[in-house]
Symmetry: C2
Subunit: 481 residues, 2 copies
């Protein structure tokens, strides 16, 4: 057993013997064993004990842990918390409050003592109970894989690891070890209290399962070990998918490229959905199977409004070719789009350089139709820049928003005309941006929808003698004009 733990300490927990470790010690068998093992292997220790103030024996237990710490020459730190009060104040169950208070205390001590890690005494039995708990409450791999011997980042810190060196050690082994070492643990009577859910698993469900299938605990532990590694692979696949699918993110919103997202296997879509929700609502629990399914289905069957209230104060929006997840309190970012004021219309001189709202700038100039410029025009990759056939346009040009019922003859549709509003839907101009989208029009029709398409009649051709170059550019403070 010691050999196995030693290997786990070095290889899995990544502990070194030259930096302090904060050990959470209740004084029960598991934490007492952990403390003794770490001490035997020569780690500098800070013994941290939290008195939950829930039981009358707790002060005596704290004293016992303190004495043990002094005996082995380890530093002892102590705090007393009124867990019952903390629970009712935060709306936690007693179990949740005790856990939260304990970890807050341990990680605070780790910072104070510049420790390399916080170590806690969870055993193989705890692992099995955790897996069963997740199973009963409904969980994917991330729950079924159970706890990890090494966790960084964890719920309590981005930089301080939480390690569990006894995760492969069974309680029976621990009791034998303590007896051999002549160590007397505290026995917490609340471990027998079946009002606590975990205790019901331990004292009712597990014996029931062992009776049905002897050895089931070991097999559940092995299952968790297998699933842990499987989850790691899927985690890294999901991180790659995140890079691939993320279109933009900011305060209160995340947008995935809708096509790239839909292209992922369903399990990675589910993971991306969970990751996005977790980033926007870090504290949120209980995001269930149905919520995630709704998010995936939304992509394939968008509602008429293209917006649904998902859960946890989050809206889903399909817009501009992106799947947006937005908190209720945030607006979608719009300043990346060119927008005119409502009803804006202005005659355009040529050449001209015009500043628009939202730090966009419009420039227009005539250019000779040299072969070089024609090639440049045809191979232009910037959708906010266009070269038109100047002689086909009936000048002057106007910059304006769309008119009710207006039509448009997009390039590539053989001169066919369709409603401009339908065109805007087809090319996924965000609904909110359509009304005030800037258009360049000549006397009788729209010549160019910036960012998307020019009209067929004004596109350059072999016959073009004179070019009109129009560009819409965001004004960057760094880049000058």
């Amino acid at each position: 057993m010691l050999e196995q733990i030693h290997s786990i300490l070095q290889n899995n927990c990544k502990l070194k013997t030259d930096l302090p470790v904060v050990v959470g010690v209740s004084g029960g068998p598991d934490s007492l064993c952990l403390l003794d093992v770490l001490w035997q292997f020569g780690y500098p220790l800070v013994v941290a004990h939290l008195d939950h103030g829930l039981r009358s024996e707790s002060a005596a237990e704290a004293q016992m842990v303190e004495q043990h710490a002094h005996r082995i020459g380890a530093r002892f730190v102590f705090e007393r918390v009124d867990v019952a009060a903390y629970a009712s104040q935060e709306g936690f169950t007693i179990e949740e409050a005790a856990r939260s208070a304990r970890y807050l205390f341990l990680f605070e001590q780790a910072r104070i003592h510049q420790a390399q890690a916080v170590a806690v005494g969870h055993t193989a039995n705890d692992q099995v109970e955790t897996v069963l708990m997740h199973l009963m409450r409904g969980a994917g791999l991330s729950g079924l894989r159970g706890m990890s011997a090494y966790n960084l980042p964890n719920a309590w810190s981005q930089v301080m690891p939480l390690v569990r060196p006894l995760l492969s050690t069974w309680r029976a082994e621990i009791l034998t070890y303590l007896a051999q070492r002549g160590l007397q643990p505290n026995i917490d009577p609340s471990n027998q209290d079946t009002r606590y859910y975990r205790n019901r698993l331990r004292h009712e469900l597990l014996p029931f399962l062992e009776n049905l299938n002897p050895g089931v605990s070991l097999r559940l532990w092995q299952m968790a070990d297998i699933l842990h590694e499987e989850d790691e692979v899927l985690d890294s696949a999901a991180s790659q998918a995140w890079q691939l699918c993320l279109s933009t993110q900011g305060e209160g919103y995340i947008a995935f490229d809708a096509l790239a997202f839909a292209d992922q296997p369903k399990s990675l879509q589910r993971r991306l959905a969970r990751m996005a929700i977790a980033r926007l609502r870090p504290g949120q629990r209980d995001i269930g199977y149905e919520t995630i399914e709704r998010m995936l289905e939304f992509l394939h069957m968008p509602t008429r409004t293209n917006l649904v209230d998902l859960a946890a104060g989050l809206n889903l929006v399909l817009e501009g070719g992106c799947l947006w997840l937005v908190t209720h309190e945030s607006d979608l970012p719009v300043n990346s789009w060119p927008q005119l004021e409502t009803g804006f219309e202005q005659l355009l001189e040529i050449p001209t350089l015009l500043s628009l709202p939202g730090d966009w700038q419009l420039s227009i100039e005539f250019l000779p139709a040299s072969p070089e410029l024609k090639v440049q025009a045809i191979s232009n990759p910037d959708p906010y820049q266009i070269w038109l056939d100047a002689d086909e346009l009936s000048l002057p040009l106007h910059l304006r928003t769309r008119l009710p019922g207006e039509h448009f003859r997009p390039l590539g549709m053989a001169g066919h005309s369709l409603k401009l509003s339908d065109f805007m839907v087809n090319v996924h101009i965000p609904r909110r941006a359509r009304q005030n989208w800037p258009l360049v029009a000549c006397a009788n029709e729209v010549a160019w929808v910036p960012g998307y398409r020019c009209a067929e009649p004004f596109a350059i051709s072999v016959r073009t003698q004179r070019l009109l170059r129009i560009a819409l550019k965001p004004v960057s403070i760094n880049a000058g004009v």
Copy 2:
């Protein structure tokens, strides 16, 4: 419910209405519902009923199914099997024998009737029971994902799909449906018999879990749905890893490149191990966690003999840079190596063309050191072909096996000399092949270890005036010399 099943039939089960479907119908609620639903949706049906001969009512039940089939104008096929006899004959439990006999019958009928699929009536409840069964027996994702709505290949056929259209439908919905349709199912009293393991799960474990956590069945079903997709992603990752790591395979053996294998994440190593075992021992069950762990650990801590008896009549061998999995009844393939007879030694004339054991051929010739040939010599990709500096060699050359304690000065080690036996270990010449490996030597030292390295003093250089080309080639019957 019908809408959901309709979508599953089309999208998940991939059934078309123009080809027959063989439906397994016991006459119980699930299969009767499946039959009625398929009939309503207009699929051409072959109703297949197997009388297991286990209960006195079975003949009457078969008749009832036959009458129903006639009523809806479907073809009816029937067989009677003595499952009890079959079980004792094959060493199966009654459950295993019934299952095996049933599927053999169904897939035989599907072939006879040129059906597009075999359909069976497993429900969402069956799915939950299956997941629990795998959980209790210890399983990774491939068990926890439960059954699939569409399986191809499956245990019974490489080409005929097995579909389960009711896998998302709960038994309670089915009973309501049957009542509405006025259909009267057979009730199989053996479903209550808790001597059968599945029935104990159904009648004891599930009620226990539901009592502890109401709604746990639904959550287990959802978990299986999530894990199904996760398993698919890992399956395809494992197939890619298989391509990447497979070195060679044949009758009774599979070899992975040891470095490539060790480079995979642990979960994919586990999957590769399981895939390899399944290919060499297709019928084998009960390959446990420990066996797979032993296989992975073997790679990192090879035993002194480089061979262990793994399990299921399979040996693990680490040799020639490969991890071999070999059945006890097979030998490792050796005829791909060049080997001399023990103690072989022969003077080599130049030019020469010499046949060796195992269909290898040695050729030697002088060539002028033209710039073209020098370039060819330096960029030679074939390790069994070498160009040496003819004037540096003290002729004549010998072809022979290694001498005790012999040394060698490999190219690239600045003329440094080391034991030839150590060199052979370093470059991973398989242990069994070292003693009889062919060597080309001149008077006082080894000039070339075919397949690996020539000696530094005889390598060609800018000063080389005359080349000696030596080639060792396998004689292929197709390729001539």
